[in-house]
Symmetry: C2
Subunit: 335 residues, 2 copies
């Protein structure tokens, strides 16, 4: 068990403020008081952290948001919502861009949290459940699908249902040769696997045979990957009449590749994405997408973190679903 400032104060029979003064090396502490506090620190093996700054609550007022890549606008937009929701509680949010690698994510989960911040909102790509065991109890809320039913509070959206709904939208428009862009075979590709599962489920619902030649992998989910994958599909001769991209940046890249190939969207090929980033509301054509409620996701994450800070840290982790909605635009419906 990790002790807090108030444990030291109780043991020494002094106020939390006095303990803080000793820990911070301030001079205006009577020598006998200082000795009592130091004895309590030694007995409890107390390690001070920044929490001492916020004396009343024992907190820093700073939380971290760790995301894989700010270059993917979904995470930048999510960050803005987290900053807004946290500001209502008087919290400052520092954002850590992990790069999505497992080692860096492990460092974030186990290292930064201990000394700098009150808590962490974490959107991991690569982290596995076992990386989260043995943490020292810094409150953490996970976003996204990774580390299912893991040891922390979790805000999720139903990726399978959302992808199934978008694929059904394309089928409902009469498309039958529906490609998918963004599949991944790496351990990191959890969102990719879930969205692919939704895609295949929708095809099965409609009695359309799954054709693996229509499924294009993308090592990352940037515009360049989407453009390359689309060019590959066009060159392969599989002749899709629609393409469901597993995020909006892939879809914007696919739009570009279709434009360069002289194909019309949606007349020749309908295009759909996932994330509802601002870019897709202004692109030519505007982009049909799955819109996760990013504001709600951010608010739920901040609320889970606040509850965790104010309640029993050993309470069982909670998993809260966040809503999404299908948002059709020009890239599937036309002008």
């Amino acid at each position: 068990m990790r002790h807090r400032l108030k444990d030291v104060a109780e043991r020494a029979g002094v106020s939390v403020k006095t303990v803080s003064n000793v820990v911070n090396g301030y001079v205006h502490v009577r020598p006998d008081t200082r000795a009592r506090v130091e004895e309590a620190i030694a007995e409890l093996n107390y390690r001070p952290n920044l929490s001492a700054r916020n004396l009343r609550k024992g907190r820093t007022g700073v939380i971290a948001l760790a995301v894989p890549e700010l270059d993917i606008p979904y995470f930048a937009e999510l960050a803005r919502h987290v900053v807004t929701a946290a500001a209502e509680l008087g919290w400052t949010v520092l954002i850590d861009q992990t790069g999505g690698g497992r080692e860096q994510e492990r460092v974030v989960a186990s290292g930064i949290t201990d000394h700098l911040i009150d808590g962490l909102i974490f959107s991991p790509l690569a982290l596995a459940a076992e990386d989260l065991t043995g943490l020292d109890g810094t409150p953490m809320v996970l976003l996204g699908e990774r580390v299912d039913h893991g040891p922390a509070d979790h805000v999720v959206i139903d990726n399978v249902a959302a992808a199934r709904e978008m694929t059904a939208h394309l089928i409902g428009l009469g498309r039958r040769r529906i490609a998918a862009i963004g599949s991944q075979r790496t351990p990191e590709g959890v969102s990719a696997r879930l969205r692919l599962a939704g895609y295949t489920a929708a095809l099965a619902d409609a009695g359309i045979d799954y054709d693996e030649r229509l499924v294009a992998p993308a090592p990352a989910w940037h515009r360049a990957d989407g453009a390359a994958a689309m060019r590959g599909l066009l060159a392969s001769g599989v002749r899709p009449d629609a393409v469901f991209c597993f995020n909006d940046t892939l879809a914007l890249g696919a739009l570009r590749a279709l434009h360069e190939a002289g194909l019309r969207v949606p007349e020749d090929v309908a295009v759909a994405g996932f994330d509802d980033i601002e870019d897709g509301r202004f692109s030519i054509p505007t982009l049909s997408t799955i819109a996760p409620d990013k504001e709600r996701i951010a608010r739920l994450a901040v609320e889970l973190l606040a509850n965790r800070l104010d309640s029993d840290p050993t309470a069982p982790p909670r998993e809260l679903p966040a809503p999404y909605h299908l948002t059709p635009r020009e890239s599937t419906l036309g002008p």
Copy 2:
């Protein structure tokens, strides 16, 4: 003057590690040694901060990057480059989104820096030079044009020259009714003023009269602002044959408004932006822009910060220019 751990160590005649052990409340310090350290702490009025974690250098290994808005892709891309450059020095970067308000930026400049981090790379919008006086010496590097010749190291690009070059590019294509989108009259609008100055200088160079009806303000520099400003210009009857937008997101919004109005880019109206964000390399048409060397800006900022950490903190501040280049694409040159 703010004392560091090593000042306490010298005064007490002990190692920095021993001081750290006392400051951190560890138990394995001999009582007489502890007393000597505490006496030195009192004499120097030393206030420990997280620097104690990195004992050898007296640092945390964590720096902050403070930017106005991660939603503006320029800042998200810059953040990635700062994270990369800092990683080479073993630093972790935490990103603070200030919102661009002067009060929040003042808090960042004076507050967070003191306790959490070794140094700060700061791209302020609203901060004035006087807000930076009286800081406690946490090393800071400023990015951008604000706080000219202020009290900190500074990485700048020449906004006037870059805007003049882009406007001359449009003139060189035979355009004469060149609009500008993004002017701002607020104290925050320093980049806007400089880019407007470059625009007017280029017009003067070419003997083209300045027409204030062609200059459209934009309260913020998002896509929606660019689209609204473009619609306003078209509705006003000023009939521009080109538009220079003060950043790329404004330009992407203008492209959308022109598309909705049935105008062709660049045949009817050539469009140029500023920032070279990834979106503009995939938009339809691709976007002509000024490309600041973001990687170089990030590297210079990290190097300035490292130098400041390793040398005399009272050395006079340095101002380093970063390169940019004009990058013409389809939105001015055609397919």
